[in-house]
């Protein structure tokens, strides 16, 4: 039964890919993705943006930073694990040291003591780990409510969610866990308010702009800031 349904889904995906206009080859599911993107946009404008703006208006800046630091410190545990999984042992040591310093001197992670002392934050997740292991990203995918991803990063995201310390740490108290999830989501959204006003101004087609920026960003993260030049990087210069 499951297999049959999977086949049907793949067939559907295939036929959609077939009739799509020749857009970005990384995005064969553009039609579905655009629909999910539009849905996410409505949800974001109706719920997340107003809540995040309210949060920013009510909670003073130093407290918002403290709350963001707290969640970032929890996240750094999983960041260190991914460092090691990617073979970056030195960075793994550094990120584990971040957790140690920030949990103690930084008072349960409310202060980012480590960043101020030469141990900057890194961004790692399981999707990146899969990328480092050589798994290609697969088609671009917009996940309902969570936004841009790819097949590979979506899989990574599922693993990240299971490894999440908020998920693991308070598994017996569901209301507490849910309020922690909500607080984290609001914190993250509030940090992006300025970015969304810039995006609004920058993009002719927001869907394509977000997709192409996001794909470049992920590639850059997987190569830790030094991606090899793509063939496509040349600027089609007529004179040379």
């Amino acid at each position: 039964m499951e297999v049959k349904r999977l086949c049907a889904a793949l067939l559907l995906a295939g036929s959609l890919a077939g009739c799509a206009t020749p857009g970005n080859p990384a995005d064969p599911l553009e039609k579905v993705n655009r629909a999910v993107f539009a849905f996410n946009d409505v949800a974001d404008k109706a719920v997340m943006t107003p809540v995040a703006k309210g949060y920013r208006a009510v909670i003073p800046g130093f407290m918002r930073t403290g709350i963001a630091n707290f969640f970032s410190n929890l996240e750094d545990v999983w960041v260190s694990v991914n460092d090691v999984l990617q073979g970056k042992f030195q960075q793994g040591m550094e990120d584990a040291t971040r957790v140690l310093f920030n949990s103690t001197f930084g008072i349960a992670g409310l202060f980012d003591f480590a960043s101020d002392n030469g141990l900057p934050k890194h961004s790692e997740d399981f999707g990146q780990t899969l990328g480092v292991w050589g798994i290609t990203s697969g088609p671009y995918l917009v996940i309902p409510l969570f936004g841009p991803s790819t097949f590979r990063d979506g899989l990574g995201f599922l693993v990240d969610a299971r490894a999440d310390l908020v998920y693991r740490g308070v598994s017996d108290d569901v209301p507490l866990r849910n309020s922690l999830y909500a607080t984290r989501a609001i914190t993250n959204r509030a940090n992006l308010l300025d970015a969304s006003s810039i995006l609004e101004q920058a993009a002719l087609d927001r869907y394509a702009f977000v997709r192409d920026a996001w794909l470049q960003r992920r590639r850059n993260l997987i190569y830790d800031g030094n991606p090899p030049r793509e063939k496509d990087d040349s600027d089609d210069e007529p004179s040379k």
Binding site: S123, S197, I198, L204, R219
Partner: protein, 206 residues
């Protein structure tokens, strides 16, 4: 004695290059100037994007090659555009980028910027100036790379990459699909329409 000699050599090398400001020095000088100007300007801090545009036009625009930026964003389609169309695209693209940048400037908060040592040979005519912005709180530092080319009028920026995301190539697919669906004039019209929209509010204020 040895140090004195190498210092002398370094001075000689510097003198040889003195006519054109080195690309990393240029980026740093402009960034410092713009940051200082915003710090003094209460209107820009208060969300006056028109004033931010003035500042950008005066301080930043002269150091960019917008024609090359438009050419990169257009990729293959650049050659099928007439010289007049190319001029229009470059002009509209410039306006779009300037307006986008003005939205960023009104939200600017003082941040520490580190410049990485420039890895380039003196004869290079294309270099990447790498910098890193350290935001407050526990967010990852953001790399900002400036792709620059040497011209008779000094070094010019032709791409800016923020966290690996190119300000220019991010437009490629959008431009290509516009051209495919509505032709080059259609793209010019879309850009012009976008540039006539009223500027957005400062995020914190609305």
């Amino acid at each position: 004695m040895k140090t004195a000699f190498s210092l002398f050599l370094a001075l000689l090398a510097f003198a040889a290059q003195a006519q054109t400001v080195a690309p990393d020095v240029l980026v740093k000088t402009i960034t410092d100037e713009v940051a200082a100007a915003i710090k003094k300007d209460k209107d820009i801090q208060g969300g006056d994007t028109a004033k931010a545009v003035e500042l950008i036009e005066a301080k930043i625009v002269p150091h960019f090659n917008f024609t090359r930026m438009a050419r990169i964003a257009m990729a293959r389609n650049w050659r099928s555009a007439t010289p007049d169309q190319q001029k229009e695209i470059a002009a509209e693209f410039k306006t779009l980028l300037v307006r986008t940048y003005s939205t960023a400037l009104v939200n600017y908060k003082e941040q520490k910027i580190d410049y990485k040592p420039l890895r380039a040979k003196p004869e290079d005519d294309e270099v990447t100036v790498k910098s890193e912005v350290k935001p407050s709180g526990s967010t990852q530092p953001v790399e900002i790379d400036y792709e620059m080319e040497k011209t008779p009028n000094g070094w010019k920026v032709y791409d800016v990459k923020v966290g690996g995301v190119s300000l220019v190539t991010t437009y490629r697919d959008t431009f290509a699909s516009e051209v495919r669906e509505r032709g080059i004039d259609g793209l010019i019209k879309s850009l012009a329409a976008k540039n006539r929209e009223p500027q957005g509010q400062k995020a914190g204020k609305s």
